[in-house]
């Protein structure tokens, strides 16, 4: 038998196993149910008219990325189903609204999460600011990496340390530990620990972290799932977070649990935070003051809107931001939408994708500590290694 025949025989001999068929059938049916659920939601219907609900990041950057095809024609393009026509956008090519960046969801809840401060911001007038230790060498990070490796049964084969002291923006030193099985432990300072691993071990890693969080007597976990979609209509990102949840505690304590007693998981990766020391307790600016800052065009984040004054606010919460090293501090997270993003989406979705199923949402961040203390604990947020600060000047 020549090699061509062997190839045909081997390939045609491959048949899906019953277990795979069963699992795939279940996944397809679940996807169908989710789609039907979204269709039934009033918000999705409203999308046709006022539409677009949530906010988002980097949508345009993102779509440009997905259209490239470095490996040759045909292979990287989105499949071209046939019938559904792509609507034509009414937004002119040189309109500033075309520079907006946002995320796409099928329901705003997909980026709302389960932050305990939602709807209760008036209860918070001051919050603690935390401080990461200053590291002058890799001793502590190595010790922490070794402990994590032991905990997860990994064997470290190499360490790489970057002090980042010459970086133009203050950043914590990073330690990357390569492991024998290809896994990787990454520490950003001591505050954030991420482990990348073979996705086949997903359940094992998540189970370990769950046990760790629930080891404290009486600890009950809650979850949040954050999702967004690409312009191909496919799921783009999915992040699951588990955190200790005790509604009987004061809101500030619940926020602490939501921030530090938690882990997040994506396929092949988990991340957790350590408990830092307290720098001090600081007064907060009000929600209305933060919203006024956003509406004026002064905010942080990877999402951008050319018309912040017209934004429809969907949700405001407070969370802790790990960007402003060494001060982990509270920040207002403002979820918003624009009524013209449906047209932008319609212009950008790939052929065959029904834009009416999707909504655009943006997230803007405004520091929550009273601005009078900004010199003492300066706030900044990074995106793609740059300061992601939007100012009113950009709007002129």
């Amino acid at each position: 038998m020549n090699c061509e025949d062997r190839y045909r025989r081997a390939m045609r001999g491959m048949a899906p196993s019953p277990a795979w068929r069963e699992a795939t059938l279940a996944a397809m049916k679940a996807a169908h149910r989710r789609k039907e659920d979204h269709r039934r939601r009033p918000l999705a219907v409203a999308a046709g008219a006022a539409v677009l609900v949530l906010a988002v990041t980097g949508g345009l950057w993102w779509s440009a990325r997905m259209e490239s095809d470095p490996d040759g024609p045909g292979v990287a393009q989105t499949p071209q189903p046939v019938v559904t026509p792509t609507p034509t956008s009414a937004i002119p090519q040189d309109d500033p609204r075309r520079n907006d960046t946002f995320s796409i969801v099928t329901d705003p809840n997909q980026l709302m999460g389960s932050n305990p401060t939602a709807g209760r911001l008036e209860e918070l007038t001051e919050l603690k600011v935390y401080e990461e230790p200053t590291l002058t060498d890799d001793t502590l990070q190595r010790a922490l990496a070794d402990a994590l490796a032991l905990e997860y049964g990994l064997t470290i084969t190499d360490y790489q340390w970057d002090s980042l002291e010459d970086y133009h923006i203050p950043r914590p030193p990073t330690l990357t530990a390569q492991c024998a099985d290809g896994s990787q432990i990454r520490l950003d300072g001591l505050g954030t620990q991420t482990i990348l691993f073979d996705p086949a071990r997903q359940e094992e890693f998540e189970a370990r972290l769950t046990r760790k969080l629930t080891a404290v007597s009486g600890a009950v976990l809650a979850q949040e799932q954050l999702e967004s979609y690409s312009f191909t209509g496919e799921l783009y990102s999915s992040l699951q977070v588990c955190f200790v949840n005790d509604p009987t505690q004061p809101l500030s304590e619940q926020l602490y649990n939501y921030t530090f007693r938690r882990f997040s998981a994506q396929e092949g990766a988990v991340s957790q935070n350590t408990y830092p020391s307290v720098k001090g307790t600081y007064p907060l600016r009000s929600e209305s003051d933060a919203l006024a800052s956003f509406h004026s065009g002064d905010y942080w984040g990877s999402h951008y809107t050319s018309h912040p004054d017209q934004a429809e606010i969907l949700q405001v919460t407070i969370e802790y931001d790990f960007s402003p090293y060494p001060y982990i501090q509270p920040v207002y997270r403002i979820l918003f939408t624009q009524n013209y993003w449906d047209e932008v989406i319609a212009d950008w979705v790939h052929d065959g994708v029904d834009p009416a199923s999707y909504m655009g949402v943006g997230v803007a961040y405004v520091p929550a500590v009273d601005p009078a203390y900004q010199n003492e604990i300066p706030y900044y947020r990074l995106f793609n290694d740059s300061l992601a600060h939007h100012t009113p000047d950009e709007l002129e």
């Binding site: 699992a23 397809m28 049916k29 989710r34 292979v75 019938v83 290809g182 191909t232 092949g268």
Partner: protein, 162 residues
Amino acid sequence: MPTLNGIALSCEEILARWGPLVYRMAIQGTGAVADGEDVAQEVFVSLIQTDPAFADETHLRAWLIRATANRCKSWGRSPWRRRTVPLEASRNAAVPPPDSSGVLEAVAALPPRYRWPVYLHYIEGYTADEIGQLLGCPRNTVLSRLSRAREKLKVALKEEWA
């Protein structure tokens, strides 16, 4: 649900009729059964999520082929794959493929621009014209890629590929 000629397709029917095509192609594209199974499942879930309407079966097959090729490509670029590399390393995870005395591995090792014409021609029986339409390149390009692929396979397998 996706429709074919205006008629809605059930999940069961989709899987029964086009499951083997996507399954085989995904394994060929990733080079490992476990990875291929994951990719194939993602393709079918994506089909349900995207909910397209197909005018005929040719379009549907074209959609699946391109979606699978895309997924295989993304799979190879994921952070985990990039770091750990050997596609064959995960082979032990699921049902092993039939013995092919290295020919499957040799085809899987071809760059995508050579691998897919080989697969589509020898396994799915597409002509060069049809492959050109599926992959978005001229017929002559397909022919030259097939020819080049045969040369590479001949070297890798140390025997002639007709």
